[in-house]
């Protein structure tokens, strides 16, 4: 419960996301706007699910702990479904806006491609989701206190940070896969995305047995990462070329000498 815990957990949770933002998004104003819009959509979905949960809690028996827990689980599932619905809604909105713009401008090239939008919106969802999950915890970690004094897990902060990082990256991967699946009308892929989101959230019910929740979450994250990579056009060959700095297209596009 010191500054080191605070900084450590902050960088664990937000490090990859912030570096992604700084290196790929911050330079392009259009992407920043869509990122913030994605965050907003996630926020609205959370609002709706909280509203439903709140109403359910108000009309239920507040004394009964198991009922409350059940309602919370219901809230989680509902929230996941609403998030994915809003992701779909955002996709539809972006498609319509893009089409409108294209029709108006009579140009072939869109200012921002649907793949970039998928990445950016996924990251927006991830940022907001991660922020809402962990910022209060981080703020508490600055202050005085003892972790797990009542017998809870000692690893609360670190595990929260790792879980948040996984969630943020997962949202980004889900965004890419989701949009790609919607573009190609592969509804089974959309269903898989939703199911994997549900899986990761439901795995968190196993907390504080972090082995049960963190490790599978990371496994899912790696799988989704690979899927997102391949659906975005990546392949082993591309990866190799990129890593050995022999990717001509990329270098050319970025005006960098080999």
């Amino acid at each position: 419960m010191t500054a080191s815990v605070f900084f450590g957990c902050t960088f664990i949770a937000f490090g990859p996301a912030i570096s992604l933002f700084l290196f790929t998004i911050a330079r392009d104003p259009l992407r920043v706007i869509f990122l913030i819009a994605g965050a907003f959509f996630w926020l609205v979905s959370l609002l709706l699910s909280s509203l439903v949960w709140f109403i359910a809690v108000q009309i239920s028996n507040k004394e009964n702990a198991s009922v409350q827990k059940g309602l919370l689980i219901f809230g989680v599932v509902l929230s996941v479904l609403l998030q994915e619905t809003f992701r779909f809604g955002y996709y539809k909105l972006l498609k319509r806006a893009n089409e409108g713009l294209m029709a108006l401008s009579q140009e072939d090239a869109m200012p921002i491609s649907i793949r970039q939008l998928a990445y950016v919106s996924g990251l927006g969802f991830g940022f907001m989701s991660g922020a809402f999950s962990v910022v209060n915890i981080l703020a508490d970690s600055l202050g005085p206190g003892t972790v797990g004094i009542h017998g809870d897990s000692q690893h609360y902060f670190v595990s929260s940070a790792f879980m948040t990082m996984a969630i943020i990256l997962l949202h980004m991967f889900w965004g890419v896969v989701f949009f790609d699946a919607c573009e190609k009308k592969r509804w089974w892929a959309v269903v898989i995305v939703v199911l994997s989101h549900l899986l990761v959230s439901c795995l968190s019910f196993l907390n504080p047995q972090y082995e049960g929740s963190l490790i599978p979450a990371y496994v899912v994250m790696c799988v989704m990462g690979m899927w997102a990579f391949s659906s975005a056009g990546g392949s082993l060959r591309n990866l190799k070329l990129c890593l050995t700095c022999r990717d001509k297209d990329f270098l050319l596009a970025n005006h960098r000498p080999r």
Partner: protein, 530 residues
Amino acid sequence: MPWRFDAFEAYKFCAAVPSVHRRTIASVPRYFHTLVASRTTHLGTLTPLRLVTSAHRCPIASVPRCFNTLSASSLLNITFMNTSGSEEEFCNERTSLMTTESPPLSSYHVETGISSLEDTQTKARCPITNESNNREARHEGVSVERDSTADSEDEEMSLKYGAKHVIMLFVPVTLCMIVVIATIKSVSFYTEKGGQLIYTPFTEDTTSVGQRLLNSVLNTLIMISVIVVMTIFLVVLYKYRCYKFIHGWLILSSLMLLFWFSFMYLGEVFKTYNVAMDYPTLALVIWNFGAVGMVCIHWKGPLQLQQAYLIMISALMALVFIKYLPEWSAWVILGAISVYDLIAVLCPKGPLRMLVETAQERNEPIFPALIYSSAMIWMVGMTEHSAVQQPSHQETNSDEEVGQSHHDNTEDNRNMVVPETEVHGAQSRTTSAVELEEERGIKLGLGDFIFYSVLVGKASATASGDWNTTLACFVAILIGLCLTLLLLAIFKKALPALPISITFGLVFYFSTDNLVRPFMDNLAAHQFYI
């Protein structure tokens, strides 16, 4: 560092009127508007011209409001309970220097169609005076065809530029909010109850909820009526050309803000961090801070320093509001001021609208009230008819902008400006050729900064949900700003900037605080993740 002064000097030398700019600038305030496509206007207008005329459409809404609160407070600040006079944002009429440089993207106002403005310009052929405005107006009136065929190309570029301008507004608004939030969270002075402003005389320490609500509504009524009265007073002053009075007022207000409020702020920060500071050092620091601020804001100064000062004084102002407005009154006032903004800007007889129209008739920039202005690169291009290349003087905001050359968007019948011409003086900057899409500035009234920051600051000060609520309000305000600019592009008429952002902010504040917070707290307690 290039100063604004250079821009002015350059302008004086740019006799030719590059058509380029006309389109550019013309489209600046309406960058989304395809109507604006003046890419192919043949006669040019001098960039500053356009900028100035655009400046006429500067954020009117913020001017009077800030002015009202300013005037009201400065008149009454001695009677405040705590010696901190509430210095409202003050309107400052910058010289044409300022206005020439950046076209205001008034988040409030963009006059209806460039065509209407054009007409005003063509009609108003003012004789040349020393006022750059008039000179510009004359040039301005020269040509005004819009070529709609270039609309399509404009559309995409407009989107990119639109996006850039939105970001140019996002950054300062975010910075201001961050300063306010950081202060609220660390310096406890601004969250302690320390009395109330004279405009909110009713206390909220009442026993019943109904009484408290009533008191806050009454406070709001008083505050809003003060603002309305001041707005009308300002319009009257402006109509009768009492410029000196207004100038004096503004200078007095900025003096108070830069010296007194920052002294208080510094004092509180030192108290919080237990820093020992002697008076001579403090006096030196405050004196330097204030003097440089006065110079930067009211005269000439490096752009970024000026922007920083404006952000700082907006933050200071917002902090004062956060401290002295009682809780419920603050929320009701925020709501009421958005409604007022809506009415004042959209109604035909609204004071703000009258102010704008008066300024347009006179072809003057309306008080560049304390207006935040961003980037100021503008380029002088070549006209169709003259083969002379005018030197361009740029003040780049960032190299990025300079480097952008949208060669693919070049006009066929347009000559590009060749960069690297140096203008008299050491402070020239070369710019890369190109066009139109250069950096044009955006102006946003400080009233907006202040009220956005008040909302976010109050959210972080009073919400029990802490950071989630603050984050939600922050995102809501940014999205509101984005939507406002989008609406501006779609409707192409004057729109107030506060309502959408403040509405979103309020909705998200109350819903996050009451609905989301318990949900997230429960989730965090069990470590469930959604």
